[in-house]
């Protein structure tokens, strides 16, 4: 699945207009946009690194850090917001000692907020990889993490 950067670039001509498709391909292959890759894209397309970064930061689809094994998406839609999503995010940030959009040092967890997960009746809610966690409270945050930790310990032993 993961193609090398050279393989990806070889399918393009190096025109400026191809910038976003190139970035998309890199992200879908590597999972995020590493700085080294942006530097290579800059050489390939002759678009300055700073401009590529400017373009990429506009779109929420692009990430500059890898996704953790467990990717946490907290809903920040209207219903969730009203029911305390900001506090939930803060709680997770405290717990993992990372900021929104970042990944833990061991690449275990990453955190981001999203527009709406489409299950407003369960607000505030979040998705961890494919699973939805609903009606979240700050207490739940702790529980969820200890549960996930136990699960992964079980798997390893």
């Amino acid at each position: 699945m993961s193609k090398s950067l050279n393989e990806i670039l070889s399918t393009f001509n190096g025109n400026k207009s191809e910038l976003i498709p190139i970035l998309q391909d890199i992200q879908s292959s590597i999972g995020y946009l590493p700085e080294d890759a942006i530097i290579e894209v800059s050489k390939f397309t002759q678009v300055p690194e700073s401009e590529i970064y400017g373009v990429a930061t506009f779109y929420t689809q692009f990430r500059f850090l890898p996704v953790g094994k467990k990717h946490i998406m907290v809903c920040k839609g209207t219903a969730c917001h009203v029911k305390g999503a900001p506090q939930i995010i803060e709680g997770i940030e405290r717990h993992l000692d990372i900021k929104e959009g970042e990944v833990t040092f061991d690449l275990e967890y990453s955190l981001e907020s999203v527009g709406c997960l489409g299950c407003c009746a369960l607000a505030p809610c979040a998705m961890i990889n494919e699973e939805v966690e609903s009606n979240l409270t700050l207490k739940d945050v702790k529980k969820i993490f200890s549960r996930m930790k136990n699960n992964s310990n079980d798997k390893e032993s």
Binding site: Y53, G54, T57, F58
Partner: protein, 913 residues
Amino acid sequence: MIVFINYLKNLGPIKIINLINMNENQITLKIDGLKVNAEEGSTILETALSNNIYIPNLCYYPDLKPWGSCRLCMVENDDGRLVTACETLVQDGMNIITENDRINRVRKLSAELLIANHEVDCLTCRKNDDCKLQEVSSYLGINREDLGSLRRQINNISMDDSNPFFDRDLKKCILCGVCVRTCNELLGVKAIDFGFRGYDTKITTFGDRSIVNSNCVSCGECVVACPVGALVPKEPVKPAREVKTVCPFCGVGCNIYLGIRGNQVINARGDAENSINKGNLCVKGRYGFKFINHPNRLTKPLIKRNNIFEEVEWDEALDYVAHKLSKIKSEKFAAISSARCTNEDNYAVQKFTRVVMGTNNVDNCARSCHAPSVAGLAKIFGSGAMSNSIDEIKDSACLFVIGTNPTASYPVIGLRIVEAVKNGAKLIVADPRNIDICKHADIVLNQIPGTDVALLMGMMKIIVDDELIDEKFIEERCENYNEFKESLKEYDLRTVKAITGVNKELIVKAARMYGSTKPASILYSLGITEHTHGTENVFALGNLALLTGNMGKPSTGVNPIRGQNNVQGACDMGCLPDVFPGYQKLEDPEAIHRFEEAYKVKLNNSNGLMFPEMLEVARIGNIKAMYIVGENPVTSEPNTENIKKSLKNLDFLIVQDIFMSETAMMADVVLPGCSFAEKDGTFTNSERRVQRVRKAIEPVGESRPDWLITCQIAQKMGAEGFEFNDASEIYNEIAEVAPIFGGINYNRINEEGIQWPCIDEKDKGTPILHTQTFKTESGKGRFIPLKYRPSAELPDKEYPLILTTGRSIYHYQTSTMTGAVEGLKTLYGEDYIDMCQEDASSIGVKDNEKVKVISRRGEIEPKVRITESCLTGVVFMTFHFSESATNILTNSALDPISKTPEFKVCAVRVEKI
């Protein structure tokens, strides 16, 4: 026929120099009923501002393309539509309204939205009183109460104070984009751009790093351009007075204003009203002035007794020097004058050496940089200097940049090259490394260091074979063409590729591009000259220009860019062992007569020793005393150990400097000279322009102007003709004895410098050399047949890598001056060894790891910097710091004609520690 078709194919767009007479295109329009004249092609805003009509604006900046983003310059046109004045071109008969209710409503809302998100902290803002947003706000009468509903939380972005010279406070940023456009359009550095667009838009570096960790070069152009307080200098004290003078760093000769408060120089800014820098400056020129009032400046004369320096009074020091020198026989004395000092200082040193000491043993540091240019160009064209002017670069249709790293060493010329490319010029870069300017190039040739002659001969063979030569020019203005053509024969592409390592197609492409695009200009510097075949490299470039007729016309020529502020001047002043001031040959009876008459003594007419010869002769004990002014050969010359031996062997060494340099440490007497800010005089820049240097502050401590010290020594020794009252009297004498400066005096160059030759008061100077005839004996440009010779030391099994040397943008020469500027040390504080990943891996070293670099002459331990700019087998080092003295490694093998050492090629081995 095929050749002809190829010619057509490769014929790039030929640029026509804009010679439109502006008066013919004047148009008239009305602004608020007021009749004004405007030039066709200018915008409404430009026209209004030049007629002293204010239209609010923020995103407009004179040097940049209009952007139309702040929406403050809205004006109403004839159709009653609102248009941006900064983007709309003037038309004849236009009626523009700049002020009515409708316009004001639009402007006010735009301004309110900006101010609402701006940190309103004006009194303590460093931009207070100089802020365009304040100007807009007061013009539009913005009320604080009106902002309430618009106000939202100001972005909580912490100040980026990482750069030693300026701060970035994005809370005050109004997103006008002036800094981004300055960096992109003007500099071509492209360190910053808009990022996180939307609510959180901000100016960001790649990866949102602090500015010092981006590819910003700290030139400060964006700081000057920023209309608000988002980019401000670290120490924004306002000067009490300003003095116009010339930047003391590279040979571009930018005009600056030094800001002074008390007796301290506190800032520097570019002068916008001159053809050289037009307000632009680099990091050194803008921020590198702290050395002037540095506490380590030498303030009193020193005499070394029992190996310890003792401070003495001037009288004692001068008596001591005079007493010692009077015992030295003429040929046992040698002087080195300074390319950093003024023309007047240099003139005094050569006059002292010739008149008082009776020898021609006087030289300057051009010997180790551009002596091959002086010798080489003199032989081909008859005159050894830049043939054209800096301001012509931007109008060239093709630039061939070889053996020079303009963006680092001559940043303002780098800007002009970027400007030329923006104007549509083709750019060919030939350099062993992928230097920054390669980003803008159409063709990049990475030749193996030291193979330039082969590369150029290869290119010229193609130009000849493809019939891209300028036959008429060769016929009418050149000689020796057939002999030269004969010597091209062996440089077929295969041979050239084998020698230079450059791809055949690229050589062909480059040759055709240079050969068919006119006007084409060659720019080069020390990558060409600092070789054992440096003069031949220069010959090759001269041949190339003659071949294509790119000589004696605007935006053409062969242009050596000078490395030091006054290296041109030091040569002009006759601080060379074979010429009097103004390049008058010692063997010319007329010259000897002129000088004997003027100096009222019998002069020695046998050529003196060149710099490396002086050191050689000193080593065997035949030079007993040396007088070194403002030079630091211990660090700057190759094979450091050898130089130390020579200097130790002297009976008497006088060093005149502003700091205790490595060379000064070895002296018997150290005399404190003044910096450029403390004396009057002139510098001559690369384009032969003699410019005024003005005294801005009183000499630091008891230091004295260098010319005065030299003259006082002469007077103590009983010599006559050194009774100058001020620098202008010296220049008047120079104008008398050297015809090429005959028409220059301080009054004439008060506003703007003059380019020599300038024969008399009526002569306006010479921006372009050789327009009618060459200055050779026959008046014709002389082709010189060439044969490629390899460098003196080539890589082998034991020393497998080629080391080449150069400069960093942040420092100047041996960093005696720039090293005294804290911020420049922060930005670049040690000499690294640059190498490619492949070479680093084969040795097994990582980035930033200390390594041992060994040559046949010595070893040093710099840190590694892995970079893609170096090619496999070639490593690069700067030579600024004595801690890792790069010149311990370099080879002192000399060019046989100019005696310039081969700094650019030596064989080394890198070892893991």
